[in-house]
Symmetry: C2
């Protein structure tokens, strides 16, 4: 086992995930904390990091490299977005070193892109996963790649020669949560149900008229065509199906272009099912592994070069 | 002024609207009550109707004809849906007379239709407005008409020879409410802003990839392109724009087919603006007038024939 080298932190909206990383890049220890920035009081981040995160991992003496919403106005300190296209080198050149922190503690900037119609889009955290994924294998840095990072705010990313060229965010996961919690659809907790998920995929059609397609989740129950406990997987299939039907075109995807899915493995599996139902090949890549590769590469660029 | 003839009631999810109707069909008096079925305890409807609604309109001795969610499992009594195609005569033949009520009190059944893909759809209340609108002028009962009733659950209705042939529900209004109240978009109360509404219309594009287009309401603010107080009208334009772009096709609309908008006049105005931005002619018709014409026609069929 190699010596501890630095503390890698993916600090998101809901959770904080931290790993002690060895010299060989492997995680020696890792922990999740319910300390996402949405759960923090203003100004609370430094104290919770010093008093909770570092001690739990015995990492009081390690430099730390953090990505995600920790760099937003809800986090530790707002770090300006870097404009696309951007690669790991550009991120490394724009790390924000937090004054007064010893050992050194740094935040990775997020990325900003323009959609084809000029609308801005932003991400914080996914850029390290995407670029970490690309850093993992030389062939991923050749030519144009289409990457999807599913989640509360899914990211569809065009990677060109190992750079994030541009991207589009789809708030599919958030819509799913809002509809489950608050809508007329009366969504219940229910077991996985691939058949109901597939029915939702089919109901998504070409992805247009989403508000009309969503109501089928209600009308099928009221009309007696579907038991209420199938609404949740059906709705999941409908929303993911609508997303994969129409969003890739917004990042210039060709028809049938394969997709690399990076992130939570269960969620990536649902997206793969949705893509394959449309005849699109998809590969699944663990988001934790990707963020570790990315942060390790950034750490080395900053500290070893 | 003619003698009071019957009590017309549009009893919805949120509100109850009631009118005393004269022999000539004109409303002699009308009132709104915050007694929508979602606000009632189970079994409470008859008592509130007798103790609050009838006395407020001095209508203790009038027969009553009610439409809307009062006929759902949340209302007074569940009245089975009538299958499309259906006209006023079919509704009249299937009124549900409530046992033990004196003066006579009746509920209009809702309608059920099948979408082109076989999915069921349902409505309760809008059918009386649509058929009342069609009853108002002979030319509206000739040939095929495309009607839209905007609202929490907007209805797109294909009217053929004065019958409701089939329809599709789009839960656009509910999505707007959920996103305003609970989402990351941080929507604030704000004054009308036609320019921001129009920007939303434009951002709706062809109506596909809605979850991705919705995120522009956040990214434009975070990216510095839009002040936060414009989010609400922008979001309204985006959702309505996406609905009018893609939903008419689900009821077999031809490209550019004119739309008759029936309902709340302010909301109809927003839909007209959205349709006209796409080069589609739209006429606006008051929903209260339409429901009164419809209920009057049903009352006469039942009591005068």
């Amino acid at each position: 086992m190699s010596d501890p080298c630095f503390l890698a932190v993916d600090w998101g909206t809901t959770n904080l995930r931290a790993w002690v990383v060895g010299r060989d890049g492997a995680a020696l220890d890792g922990r999740d904390f319910p300390l996402g920035v949405s759960r923090l009081q203003p100004g609370e981040a430094p104290r919770r990091f010093a008093e909770t995160v570092r001690p739990a991992l015995k990492a009081e003496r390690l430099p730390a490299l953090m990505c995600g919403m920790v760099g937003s106005n809800l986090g530790w300190r707002e770090v300006p977005y870097l404009d696309c296209p951007a690669d790991l080198r550009a991120l490394a050149a724009n790390l924000c070193r937090l004054a007064g922190e010893d050992p050194p503690t740094m935040i990775v900037p997020g990325l900003r892109a323009r959609r084809a119609d000029g609308t801005p889009d932003v991400m914080r955290g996914e850029e390290v996963q995407v670029l970490g994924w690309a850093a993992g294998k030389p062939e991923r840095r050749r030519g144009r790649r289409l990457v999807c990072h599913p989640g509360t705010h899914a990211k569809w990313v065009r990677v060109v020669e190992g750079r994030v060229d541009h991207f589009v965010t789809a708030m599919t996961g958030e819509l799913f949560d809002l509809l489950c919690k608050y809508s007329v659809l009366q969504v219940r907790e229910s077991p996985d149900d691939p058949d109901a998920f597939d029915e939702g995929l089919e109901a998504a059609g070409d992805g247009a008229a989403l508000a009309a397609r969503l109501f089928t989740a209600r009308a099928r129950v009221v009309g007696g065509d579907m038991p209420a406990e199938r609404v949740r997987p059906y709705l999941s299939g409908l929303l993911i199906g609508a997303e994969v039907a129409a969003t890739p075109a917004l990042v210039g995807a060709e028809a049938g272009e394969p997709v690399a899915l990076i992130g939570d493995l269960r969620l990536c599996g649902l997206y793969r099912r949705a893509l394959e139902a449309r005849g699109i090949a998809a590969s699944v890549h663990d988001g934790d592994e990707a963020v570790l590769v990315g942060l390790k590469a950034l750490f080395e660029t900053e500290f070893v070069s």
